[in-house]
Amino acid sequence: MKKLLFLTLFGLAAAMTYAGGYRVGLQGQRRLAMGHTGVAVVDNAELAFFNPAGLVYLEDRINVSFGASAVFSDVVWQNDEFGQMARTDSPVGTPFYAYVSYKASDWLTLGLAAYTPYGSSVEWPTDWSGSHLVNNIDLQAIYIQALASVKISDKLSVGGGPIYVNGAVNFNRNLNRTLSDIDGNRANVTVDASGVHAWGWSLGAMFNPTDKLRIGANYRSEIIVEAEEGDADFSNIPASPLTPFNDTRFDASLPLPAELSVGASYEISDKWLVAFDYNRAFWDVYQSLDIDFQDPAVPDSENPRNYKDANTYRFGAQYIANEMFTLRAGYYFDESPVQSGYFAPETPRNDAHGFTAGLSVNITEKLAIDASFLYNRFEEINESYEYYMENGQNVPFEGDYKTVAFVPGLGVTFKI
């Protein structure tokens, strides 16, 4: 009992799971509860995301897992040189996942997966001090994937499949720091695109050197989402030929970077399992957010991002308390892909410590409820975005940022 208490509290002390940039690492309550480790854990259908190669080792014929999380994430910013402060009032994000696997034969398992690994929803107060960079952004991407998992031997399997992505973005910012109409309403632009789609793939392998030890690797490809003919709406533009901002269409592209995971799990005893994952997200692809407006009178918008590849180190433990309860806890360290000087308030992410915990309740032998909780701890950071330009001059936007995020999640695991 003492051990249990320790485990639970540790899980809370360590807390939240996000990953840098607009990556949202919430692809399964059981795995999340263990620090979002899972590339080498064979437990339930959450493998469809973490490592499809492992699906073939699931014992039951049909495995289903689905669930959703509620992301409560807010950021506070202040600039003490000028006495300015702002807090986000972001809507609650609800990333979800749904996985199913079907054992077609002893050596082949087929699967289907839907999940939301990328997204961002940040809402600053309209016309706040950084409104020339962002007022609000809502970015969504749903991945749908068909999977095959092939057992080569009891020790080795591979799995993977094509990914279809459907994305949407809505972004509003003021045109600059001062332009306004006759009544002082700030000139702003909203870009909106939905139903944008693209294709990618993932491929994984699992190796089981002993009964207790599993080693896994999984790679998910980069997917560049190209928004074409999106709507750009300009508001509060002065009635002057000097500001010819008429509503138009825009093209833009946003990369959803590739991610490599490698890891291992070890069964210490019948009750205890530990896991470690290493992720590398290839954020280097995100060099600049460029919006190309079709109306030649409207200047294109170029916003350097200059992200760098980022690592995440994940640790998790699982304890089977009894037939009804399984407890999990975890920790991860998530490096931010944002480099100093490129800290834009639309994705204000610095390095994060994620502390996770959760449990499964076996209602019947076939049905379990999975709950998880993530607390992300961010250090307070003084950062700036230095690449906003005014009259050909870079105008830095800087201040102290502090983010808090916590994510309760609930899911169901079902097997026949």
């Binding site: 006495g83 332009l179 009635a239 030929p241 909780f373 808090v404």
Partner: protein, 524 residues
């Protein structure tokens, strides 16, 4: 089963201990946490002054201008250092800016920058909406921003300055009518009734400005100690200023209030006098030659006339030589009319280097001979006669002299006028400085501040703010009053001086986040 409930209970408890709101180590929104008011008490800040204090810009008072007035900017920063009362403002009814009196429009709408079909930009009166601020609609106060556009130093103590009945005769001020607590009250009485704990006073600009913007057509009242006899374009006697000024500060500090005094800028540093250069007469070689020939002819004919009247030749030529003005290809200084005198019998001369032309001079007239010569057919006939070696009659000589088309006095600040204004300004500023140190108040040298804006400009995170008309960023389209960015610069300087005097740490504002002029083609 007991055990199982315990797991659930621990889980729920854990949810409860996680904070949802991010908190910074040193949050600035805890009043007094990061910034200090030092020895000042900003609880009830009252701002006194004229149009600059009200937030007047673009030749009108309107809501966004009031929002961006330096007192409102200051009040926002003061509130970061301690609990303060709400800073109340007698807001106009709209952003058009014109005033009505009983439905009749008495002042015009604000200026906006309009662009014509050729791409030329010019300040124009905004016509996108009709003005709706009627001065007969008196607002319920009290108001912390007591800035009254048009007020001179001695007006603030005048009872009845907010009496509607006195507006037409000029005895009262339409802006004060809108928010005076009674028709009989004075600006000072309404300010003192609020028992301010801190005040700012920026008054005296109009004591020289009216004279300046009217091109010096008013009277320099130095020596006249009765302000009731002054006209609106006159210069206030420095003694009168010193007396009313120290009386006001005495009254405002009687209860121990702290404050800041702001001095009077040099009117020659404002865009109103620095936009049309005095050498904007740009000529090609041929026109320059023609003008030189014309003035040479004027000089010769005038000398000839004097000699004919019996003036000795040497003396006649010497007197007439001042009219033999030469012009060169490129920029030349304009000709101005001056009073006829013994030393200048024809009453015109070329402008000197330091003399100024006001913003509202008729530019199209300048392009067609105003400020140089009106070469009519008659004048050209006389010139032709002279070229042929003929001698003009008296009548022909007068036609020739009549071709001179100098700038009017009202369009020009000549060197005498400039020196009168500077003498008065210097004296006012000496008073302000002395009163500030005698009372231990902060003092802001707006004179030096605006001189540095005019002389090279002040840099900020998005560039440089200069006094250049329309594009410089400091001056609104009336060339006299400031833009929000200009007022923010003033507010920062005031904050500096308050911090220095009262050992406070009021934060400054980010100048780059304040706008400049407004664009609109909704004009007449």
């Amino acid at each position: 089963m007991m055990k199982n409930y315990r797991f659930l209970a621990i889980g729920l408890l854990a949810l409860g201990i996680v904070s949802c709101e991010p908190d910074l180590d040193n949050p600035i929104d805890e009043a007094g946490g990061v910034y200090s008011n030092g020895g000042a008490d900003f609880t009830n800040y009252v701002a006194l002054g004229n149009s600059l204090t009200a937030g007047y810009a673009d030749n009108a008072l309107y809501i966004t201008g009031q929002t961006n007035s330096y007192p409102n900017i200051l009040a926002g920063q003061f509130a970061l250092t301690q609990e303060t009362n709400e800073f109340t403002i007698p807001y106009m009814n709209d952003n058009a800016g014109g005033l009505l009196a009983g439905g009749q429009q008495i002042t015009s709408n604000r200026l906006v920058l309009a662009t014509d079909s050729q791409g030329n930009n010019s300040p124009s009166v905004y016509a996108g909406m009709a003005p709706t601020t009627d001065i007969t609609n008196v607002l319920e106060g009290p108001f912390n921003n007591m800035g009254v556009p048009g007020a001179k130093s001695y007006h603030l103590g005048v009872e009845g300055y907010g009496n509607l009945a006195g507006v037409q005769s000029g005895m009262a001020n339409p802006y004060f009518v809108r928010f005076a607590s009674s028709p009989q009250t004075s600006v000072m009485a309404d300010a003192l009734a609020q028992d301010p704990t801190f005040f700012s006073l920026w008054i005296g600009n109009n004591d020289v400005l009216g004279y300046a913007t009217s091109g010096g057509v008013g009277v320099n009242q130095a020596g006249n100690l009765n302000p009731a006899s002054y006209g609106s374009n006159d210069i206030t006697d420095p003694q009168v200023f010193a007396q009313v000024y120290s009386q006001m500060v005495q009254a405002l500090t009687a209860n121990g209030a702290g404050g800041v005094l702001i001095n009077i800028p040099d009117v020659t540093s404002i865009a109103f006098f620095n936009t049309v250069p005095n050498n904007a007469l740009v000529l090609d070689a041929q026109t320059a030659g023609n003008l030189t020939a014309y003035f040479s002819a004027v000089s010769q004919v005038f000398a000839g006339g004097l000699i004919a009247q019996g003036v000795p030749q040497e003396q006649a030529v010497a007197l007439a030589s001042q009219y033999a003005i030469t012009f060169n290809e490129g920029p030349n200084r304009f000709i101005i009319d001056v009073p006829v005198s013994q030393t200048n019998p024809l009453g015109f001369r070329q402008m000197t280097e330091d003399e100024l032309i006001q913003l509202q001079v008729d530019q199209s007239a300048l392009a067609s001979g105003y400020g140089s010569v009106n070469l009519t057919t008659e004048v050209q006939q006389v010139l032709g006669l002279l070229m042929a070696g003929g001698t003009p009659t008296q009548e022909q000589a007068n036609i020739l002299f009549g071709g001179v088309n100098g700038l009017d006095d009202a369009d020009v600040l000549d060197s005498t006028e400039i020196s009168e204004i500077q003498t008065a300004t210097t004296s006012f500023n000496q008073t302000i400085s002395a009163v500030a140190s005698a009372n231990g108040l902060a003092m802001v040298d707006a004179n030096a501040l605006l001189n540095s804006v005019a002389d090279g400009g002040l840099s900020f995170d998005g560039g440089t703010v200069t006094a250049t008309y329309a594009t410089g960023g400091a001056f609104s389209l009336d060339g006299v009053h400031l833009t929000p960015r200009g007022y923010a610069i003033v507010a920062n300087e005031i904050i500096d001086q308050i911090n220095a005097t009262y050992s406070a740490t009021v934060p400054k504002v980010n100048v780059g986040q304040y706008g400049t002029i407004t664009l609109s083609n909704e004009v007449q």
